[in-house]
């Protein structure tokens, strides 16, 4: 697009040709990056969806259990039972590089290794339903952590894919055609200049010849 003024010079032509070569190479690379990101994203997002469905079902079941447990005992006792949790979750957060996207990895550690430490209360005053409810929640914790890891990765990758896609499109539909058109414009202009120089030289020769004939 010759929307802006470009100098029809050989230097500009060379510059544009180099730019076009770089853009074409960059376009190819970015396209490859996009395709690979997309492939990995597809796998990841499928896994994400599956995990999410599982976790949501699990949490809902646990919530139901808690409601049942709550119904079987007084609220004060329930609050008291859950007031001082024994267990604590620590997360060792690392980083993983997927196609230059940094995604977190979570390594879950619990304060105590004993699986029974989720029961932070004596069993005397609480209903048995509460034990079941707490257990059902504890069972889905590993999946919840995995979900957190995958979902974050998906979100970050989606952002990166969108960026890459925009870059690819900008190169493909704006930068590269523009450079091609400018190159054509310059080479045509240069050819035109050359022709007009030729014609001018011929004309001068003609005039000189005529002058000589008249003198003779």
């Amino acid at each position: 697009m010759a929307s802006k003024q470009i100098n029809p010079t050989r230097m500009e032509l060379n510059r544009l040709k180099k730019k076009l070569a770089t853009a074409t190479k960059g376009h190819k690379l970015l396209k490859d990056k996009r395709d690979e990101l997309m492939r990995q994203f597809m796998d990841l997002v499928r896994e994400n969806m599956e995990l999410r469905k599982k976790v949501e079902a699990g949490i809902q079941a646990a919530n139901t259990n808690f409601v049942v447990a709550k119904a079987g005992m007084s609220e004060e006792i329930l609050h008291e039972a859950l007031m001082a949790p024994k267990q604590e979750v620590y997360i060792e957060a690392g980083k993983k590089n997927i196609m230059s996207v940094n995604v977190p990895t979570f390594d879950v550690k619990t304060r105590t290794a004993d699986a029974n430490d989720i029961y932070s209360y004596g069993f005397a005053f609480t209903s048995a339903d509460l034990d079941g409810a707490v257990k059902s929640l504890a069972d889905i914790l590993p999946e919840m952590m995995k979900l957190a890891e995958r979902e974050k990765a998906c979100q970050l990758m989606a952002i990166e894919i969108e960026k890459t896609r925009r870059r690819v499109n900008a190169l493909e539909h704006v930068i590269i055609p523009e450079a091609q058109q400018n190159i054509r414009f310059i080479s045509m202009k240069l050819a035109e200049n050359e022709r007009s120089t030729n014609v001018r030289l011929l004309k001068v020769q003609d005039m000189l010849l005529e002058k000589k004939i008249q003198e003779a």
Partner: protein, 107 residues
């Protein structure tokens, strides 16, 4: 070393305390937004937030979408599943591909 937190209405999250998450019961959106900001600054790698609370502080949540930590994850509350979590996954598919071709038909 990071920790994990649960944010939401008290009734939806009190159970998470037993399995080792730190619970932050909130009642109004403003408080929830502030708590989330606070959690993001502190050492929390994962924040589970109930869908009903999340829907009111979407702006605050979007702020942390691009950062690596914390991961803000929606979970259904005690009042039922609003589908916001699934919607979030679909949204990232849409963002990446342009349209939801993976889960378009299934819910």
């Amino acid at each position: 070393m990071y920790k994990a937190a649960a944010l939401g209405e008290y009734d939806s999250i009190y159970g998470f305390a037993t399995i080792g998450l730190e619970t932050f019961p909130v009642s109004d959106p403003e408080e929830a937004g502030k708590t989330l900001d606070h959690l993001a600054e502190a050492e929390y790698a994962v924040v589970y937030i109930t869908e009903s609370v999340a829907s009111k502080i979407q702006n605050t949540i979007d702020k942390y979408k691009e950062s690596v930590l914390p991961a803000v994850i929606l979970i259904p509350g005690v009042s039922g599943n609003t589908g916001a979590g699934i919607q979030g996954v679909k949204k990232s598919v849409e963002q990446a591909i342009g349209s939801d071709i993976l889960f378009g038909g299934t819910n």
